[in-house]
Symmetry: C2
Subunit: 244 residues, 2 copies
């Protein structure tokens, strides 16, 4: 499993992903799920992926190949809008499906992939898309400013409570880490290291890209504070008016 999330805020974007991949509990490995394309003063594009690892790697390989070929209309470094970039990702997904879908079906393997694409291209505001296995996609809006893919449920309540478009980048980054912490605690197939990338609007470069590994002192600190605080908060909850 995997857990990735991304938030589109007034100040910019926050994107985070775990690094665990599993094909059964006896085959758990570490694979990074975040790819970044950047061109100074022009664009920053980040892709997060969840689903079948062979499929997601094949999709990324197509995108990378088009970047290397400097394909006018098919390179993440040349397209003129993030919507166009999302379309490229969707096309790559369909290309992989066209190539592998039948064989996967025969082998009884579902064609599972979902992706989050976020970033900013000069001339546009920062944007955030979620791309489905069918290659179609949706865009985040002020009412729903975040996307999650993979093992999404454990880490959703805290985002619902804390994040809206006015949330500052630091708070949003903390919320992403707390959301990942809750997920990692509840699902052993989601694990460290975490890739956390923060992008500040109109800078066209990475504000910070943290790789949170085992024993990361800040992450340890955060989860200790959070766990202790939750327990204390729970102790202080009002007692019921009924007798037990």
């Amino acid at each position: 499993m995997t857990y990735c999330l991304a938030m589109a805020l007034d100040e910019g974007l926050v994107l985070a992903s775990d690094s665990r991949t599993n094909a059964g509990v006896d085959h758990i490995s570490t694979y990074r799920k975040m790819r970044v394309w950047q061109k100074d003063d022009d664009r920053l594009i980040v892709l997060l992926s969840a689903g079948n690892l062979a499929i997601t790697q094949a999709v990324v390989a197509i995108l990378e190949q088009n970047v290397r070929a400097d394909a006018t209309d098919h390179s993440m470094l040349n397209v003129d809008s993030l919507q166009h970039a999302a379309r490229l990702v969707g096309q790559a997904v369909r290309q992989v499906y066209h190539h592998d879908g039948k064989a996967l079906k025969e082998a009884g393997v579902d064609f599972t992939i979902s992706l989050i694409l976020g970033g900013q291209i000069k001339g546009e505001e920062p944007r955030l898309f979620m791309i489905y296995a069918a290659g179609n996609f949706i865009e985040a809006t002020p009412e729903t400013p975040y996307f999650q893919i993979g093992e999404t449920k454990y880490g959703k309540p805290i985002i619902d409570r804390m994040v809206n478009t006015k949330t500052d980048l630091t708070s949003a980054a903390k919320c992403a880490l707390v959301s990942l912490d809750s997920t990692i605690r509840s699902n052993m197939t989601v694990g460290l290291p975490i890739d956390l990338l923060v992008y500040r609007k109109d800078t066209f470069k990475v504000a910070t890209h943290q790789v949170v590994r085992d024993h990361d002192s800040y992450f340890e600190d955060l989860r200790t504070h959070w766990g202790k605080g939750i327990r204390e908060l729970f102790q202080r909850l009002p007692d019921p008016p009924w007798e037990i």
Copy 2:
């Protein structure tokens, strides 16, 4: 969807369920998912159900019929152990499958049901079982003293943090309500009223059975405290050492 949970603690049992049933978002209704059988000074048995409503009602109908018939070995009021009671529930599930399974399959409807059975029968400790759609079941242990069925993920992190067998009944009841609150917030197909039942070991009667409806003042109080506390806790989290 549905969300039910139950905890087996040193002091007794806490069981809770929501009351929403849906067949598509345009067909949402209220159905209670908790059934109680009780015989003074002898036993208290509680059944929670999730899954296809027609299937769960058919299962309960069989169990009720056997209670009314006062069937020696097949009545929840006569069996001599909770394991035997769990076997009765499993048999009822298989009977419904035998009767309806083929027609459901032809109609493209999955045979989905899961149940939690908790209680105490004189001569035994309180026990807690989870019964699957195949009619087989597992029992809670001190290491894993709780079960959830239905929409389980949103409400799991708080139980994992707060509940072990030493938890007192009042704290466990509060935790069950917070867990349900998190689930209700995140999934519109889980909803009020909540059935909350607390059983104190060796009493063979209900300690309290609360039906938490809209505008229940204690539940409102609890969720306000919790929501405010979580926000305050979040504000107090340490800032990251890295620059954004």
